[in-house]
Point group: D2
Chain length 291, copies 4
């Protein structure tokens, strides 16, 4: 994700300072150069932060964030000082975001949580949605607004740190539940000898029409080998689990998404963790011997 | 629903024979006349059938269908003979459709089940979707195709009688489950002090964007008085119940829509049967004292 | 079931009038004679009723009841007149009981619904439980009390006709839900490499100890072939379905037994309808590939 | 819990070394003295361990365990050396048990996890059930067997450390699910105008008869004020949550206990966290306006 985001940032920030943790440095440099930018390739996370007014970070796992921000040599936190700002676009747990925010503020920096809704395609097209929370002045600053505009189509400011992640969990839980519900509908249609393409077309013509059903529905009939992964099932399930934990903290019953969660758990048991989350249909089929 | 459908039919059928069971005869006549048609207002259902090549019927309840087709004086069935065809657009149970089909065929007529997806607005705009099943030749006949084109934007032929109703039940169950899932998301967002309008806007920008969420989501925050009825909750729940019964017949587990069904049942217990089905959120709130 | 019940009745009713619909007349006669009774073997249901003060009936299906009471030659209803009473111990739907009650009362007879809790073993030992409803004077009459005491260990009078069946549905739903819950516990224990016999023994030592877990738990580990049928899965599921329909009528959410119902439905899809209802564990296993 | 357990141990261990963290030292001394024991009241956890062959610990929370074993002055771990053994009867999370086990073994001690099934009553009567796991030789040692016999009616050895806690979670999840199922049955019975005492009596006479239903069922009709706390609802729910997390780790669907969990979560939202877990019925009632 980080590479196309950097490429989009490069369009208006000709002196972008970049760094990445993988060995794809060449790809990163090529991407930002093609946008007419002469990037400075920093030698460490701390160097990026120390040499930038605002640092956008995009890391794939909580472990990566921990390492890059706190644990590796010249971790990002060491570059933070008064006047330096961090916008972390990673998807983490709430506690992780709260911790980074605290650490950055203790060094007099400013922090904005900004997890994104959208995957690679939208990242390339600058069509991400940013769910921001934390330092509202930072959010409103010209640099951040310019950056978010380059990378996304819309951003939200949602309140104190943690709220961005919470919003993402609510949204992703709804997404996973909608797809499990579609899975049940497809399995029922199959049992009734109704045409699944007809079902999907009827859905596409009515009030329930949505891009996800149009994209994932057709995959649900091809069996396991068809579940080319856009969003891994285990990640979708993890978000449902975290949202359920939030519901637990607040004494709320979510039995519909809870039931969806059970299908995803079973799908993991079927060995589909790394397949696309559309593979959830396989546990629905398996339960009644329809696979 | 029947009135706008007749008005649309009148546009290409200048000698339309009409009848309705309510006392809104004047409204019906006015509607078809404004379409440039000189309608024949029949004195009974049997007269409509006997004087038409194809009769389209649209009745609101199974009881109304029973009465109009079989039980009242000069019921529709008495007008059926060789060469006469019936297209019933009512939403009934499968057994009812099968029974009408049998009765019509016994009198050498032809029958097409054609329940619609879409409510009053689409009916007025000729934008209904027809889920047809039964006599395929009848479906393909010029008269029926012309009629379906005038009233709708798309029609499907789905196989033997019953399949139209089955498809509608699958679709409506998905609809009700999606809305219950949204209800859980809204309740969670409220508990997390997230803005519900923000949640709905995030949803509208992503892969889950659908007209129903855009329409019903904003209503979910206004409390009971806001649930102006488009589709009564008890009807939505009934469709889920029937789909669950089909799943039962075929040995299929639908625990996600099953959980949604439980919220709708509870909402009926809260006295919301006649409110819009968006009111399902109230049972989710009530369970944890959030209403 | 009827045979051991008749044998127990014979102990105090030496001139019992008997009839059965199967070809096991010899077995019936042998059973009641061994109790020291000289039974009158009637030639029809009507003859039993006409020659007895109180007739106890025990039939296996609604169809059998319909035939014996109303449709066959000399059906039971034709023997009913003032002073004649019927106690139907069959398990039916509420509507069926209400219908029989009405027919009997129209002929000036008295009717008691009396479905039993308990299967063959308790029937033989005179240890059934009778869930009675309908005519309270009939329930309290000496003949009926004597009969119920001979066949059972306890009887309840529960109010108007239908209440006996309702109570049985509530109880059986709880039974089926408890067993599905045990199934989930066993599947989890297996996944955790805990010993299932240890689990069952721990359960037997604590507040959850119950005869059903002791009986069915050990069967849950033996695979499909081990599910020797005491109570067919499809019958257990049917009772849950009927109870869910009652909950639907009264606007009540039963999401726990609803989720159990989904496992039973899936187990039917796995071809286990005629196996013991302990086989519900197989759909839990199948969903996650653990079977 | 610790006090009656110590009193029972004192019956065969006249020189018992005791310590407790609360200010109820006098009560502890009185209890063990009345058993004919001259206890040594140690000044710290480390002193107990250093002066005993086997130390039994019973602490109420993970925080208490952390403090007593590792963090306070003269914590228990400082008393561990070759030949010293610890049997921890607390109920913790698996990770906590694994951690203590590791720490004890690093100091050449032996460790047994031994969470109990049973509450105060059984503790007083020496009727606890011990779910042991870890060092099998320690489990089989004469001292430990004698101690377990004094305090309990049965002990199990379940394998590697963690298995005791896992078994307890499986059992408690089943317990909580059974009680939620009863709650649904009671709410349905109430809606059907069936007598709840009759329902409970029918249950008590059949295959589902269990001490928990007999104890908790009658409380379910008295409303919130009747939920005198034996086992707090939030603790019951926590065990279900942990068991669900184990099911998640192993890719298992537990939709029945998952649905039960949702009722408990809602009951927390109703403010019933500290009431007895029988109060789960209140969220079932509230969902449909029956409270």
């Amino acid at each position: 994700m980080g590479l196309p985001m950097a490429a989009n940032l490069a369009k208006s920030f000709p002196n972008l300072v970049v760094w990445n943790r993988s060995d794809k440095k060449d790809a990163l440099e090529a991407a930002v150069q093609s946008a007419g930018c002469k990037p400075v390739y920093a030698s460490s996370p701390a160097e990026v932060v120390a040499n930038s007014e605002v640092t956008f970070s995009m890391l794939s796992t909580p472990e990566a964030v921990k390492s890059v921000f706190f644990e590796q040599d010249n971790a990002a936190i060491h570059g933070v000082s008064e006047g330096k700002s961090i916008v972390d676009c990673s998807t983490l747990q709430i506690e992780d975001m709260v911790q980074t925010d605290k650490a950055v503020r203790e060094k007099n920096g400013a922090f904005l949580e900004a997890p994104v809704s959208g995957s690679k395609g939208p990242a390339e097209q600058g069509q991400l949605i940013f769910l921001c929370a934390g330092d509202e002045n930072l959010y409103k600053s010209e640099t951040v607004q310019t950056g978010l505009d380059l990378m996304g189509k819309r951003s939200f400011f949602l309140g104190p740190v943690g709220n961005g992640t919470k919003m993402k969990l609510v949204v992703n839980t709804l997404m996973a539940t909608m797809l499990a519900a579609l899975g049940e509908g497809v399995v029922l249609a199959e049992a009734l000898d109704l045409s699944v393409p007809d079902l999907l077309e009827v859905l596409s013509l009515g009030a329930m029409n949505n891009p996800m059903y149009a994209l994932k529905g057709p995959k649900m009939k091809y069996g396991v080998k068809g579940y080319e992964t856009n969003f891994p099932l285990e990640h979708a399930q993890k978000d449902v689990r975290f949202a359920q934990a939030l519901a637990d903290d607040h004494g709320i019953s979510m039995s519909v998404s809870g039931a969806a969660n059970e299908w995803y758990k079973a799908a993991k048991g079927l060995g589909l963790s790394r397949k696309d989350f559309a593979a959830v249909i396989e546990s629905i089929r398996a339960a009644s011997g329809k696979s």
